[in-house]
Symmetry: C2
Subunit: 385 residues, 2 copies
Amino acid sequence: MKNIAILGSTGSIGTNTLELVEALGDTFNVVGLAAGENTSLLLRQVEKFRPEIVSLKTKEAAAKLKERLKNRKVRVVYGSEGAEEVACFERNDIVVSAITGIEGLRPTLAAVRAGLRVALASKESLVVAGAILQAEAEASGAEVIPVDSEHSGIFQCLAKEKRENVKKVTLTASGGPFFQTPLSEIKGKSVEEALDHPRWKMGKKVTVDSATLMNKGLELVEARWLFGLRPSELAILIHPQSIVHSLVELRDGSTLAQLSPTDMKIPIQYALTYPKRVSSRLPELDLARVRSLEFYPVDEKRFPLIRLARLALEKEKSFPVALNAANEVAVEAFLNRRIGFSAIVEVVSEVVGLHRLSEAASLEEVFAIDRETREQAATLIKRRF
Amino acid sequence: MKNIAILGSTGSIGTNTLELVEALGDTFNVVGLAAGENTSLLLRQVEKFRPEIVSLKTKEAAAKLKERLKNRKVRVVYGSEGAEEVACFERNDIVVSAITGIEGLRPTLAAVRAGLRVALASKESLVVAGAILQAEAEASGAEVIPVDSEHSGIFQCLAKEKRENVKKVTLTASGGPFFQTPLSEIKGKSVEEALDHPRWKMGKKVTVDSATLMNKGLELVEARWLFGLRPSELAILIHPQSIVHSLVELRDGSTLAQLSPTDMKIPIQYALTYPKRVSSRLPELDLARVRSLEFYPVDEKRFPLIRLARLALEKEKSFPVALNAANEVAVEAFLNRRIGFSAIVEVVSEVVGLHRLSEAASLEEVFAIDRETREQAATLIKRRF
């Protein structure tokens, strides 16, 4: 039995992980949960899984939860420090890191420094601090296993291949809800339309990022750090069926690919049980029923953020931090209906266009650049919209 | 530098192998060649690659070649014993076994007994004597690496996985030239139409086998021996683009697949260089250009030989020997325009339907059953057509 802590337990990855833990019986034991503001769901999770430590975002929420749990032996903490405490709780074997945005960085880092297995869904952590996390993982012996379906697929295809054999790694993107929408109509798309993803059921931030393809852009940078790839070795293909998650082209002309039904439980489970594979009761892939797998090149006119993600891959340093910060602010403004869908691209492009590259070698610098860029983006939104 | 012998050097696999050897420069040295009756091509191959031993099918052809090569230091042999001598020539490191039909069995066995790496294209050898070849390979330490694109794909996908994780292995079939032909029109198809394969450029026997899907049936049995799979773990999907060669479904819901452009040089090279991968100058796979990969279930009404291949998988023993013999005779009669296309199925079904199962545990028994079945098939053809 392995002890598991889940950062972001009330989100999409978190709840899927808990369903898996339940289905797998005595394989995993939940010792820690960190959530945001969904106190009532966290309470139910505590009742069911009996962790030893839980964290919420605010002091108030934590106090409320503590009151409800006063008869239970469970430590209740809060804030970023609270999530970090859950991440490096001494009884942890595995940490599922699934807090969205740069907010996931400090807890992810805490789990990595503790030398644990980190099932990583918080892609923004690697995007803004890939070099730092990599160095810390090397020092501590932490094992970072990707949870994103594309990266899980790459990880599986690469498993025994030598790095020198890899010629190109392709991540697929569903194309999101607006892949076929006439360009002139994209501008006016509502929050509801952006959240209506054709294939995956995910959190709001990542669903909007899928509609702009920024999600795939962040994943390019994530793959760069997870697998040590050069920008020229990374590619994206639109694949509306979302069945082939990634492809690894080898230098002898062979390509290995990983496929599965669109269910996040598959890559989550793999990250938890690796190198073992455990039977799942999920529906089987039936290609004769799917009939056709389609692939399209990425149209950068339709998805201009991909160009910026490519720039981030090439420039590295502070550029990905700024790109991520601008995008987080713009997506939040869109979800709060302060700006329209196409203004996401407008805000991100303009803010990133003014960014002055710096080293971003320390965590302090990363957070400073993040803060500064967020202010610029917020100011731009206030001024223009 | 590895020494290589090629059995079937003037056939499709043989000539592709020699082109590869040439392209790879000093990696491989050709020491032996065995051919059928194409003396003039073998002569050119000898001039270019300077092997130390060559074999032809008949004594007459060998004498003719010897005369032409009298100034060269090359041993010229002939017949089945000649091919066997090439197969276990003492300087061999790798033997490419690519003689079509049961004719390939003795030389393949000789290479396996010699404990060499055997790059196996002669699928009929495994179909008729899988248990014998497997036992001999275990005893000698021979390394049998598949050359068929589907099996090479499975081999690559399985490399990383434990046997217990494998749930299902799917071989794809292009469907051949008659996949979309109305059933009523298939009967009258000519030799030229049957040989006009939409994807692969191959030898005549295997091309006709592709049109009847018997090739895929033989490959099912081949996969059973190569990978130790149960009949229920083996599946076929029609995939007209022939880009996904095989899929391995794992018990956790993940599927690994191998893809490549339709060029036999890719699996041949892999079998020669494994576990290394060497750069190839072949065209890259461009899925955005291919656009769509389609998959269809196999219609056993259209391709009734698949049902017989499934029976062979289940019954084993002498059944696959009889199936293969009846098919070899029927295909030859079709290629010689003695029978029509749909008579292949008729002859094979009728002959196999009368087959009485026996052990076929020794090579002698295998050849006896083969001879007997061939006579039955020949008699049927003579009587009816």
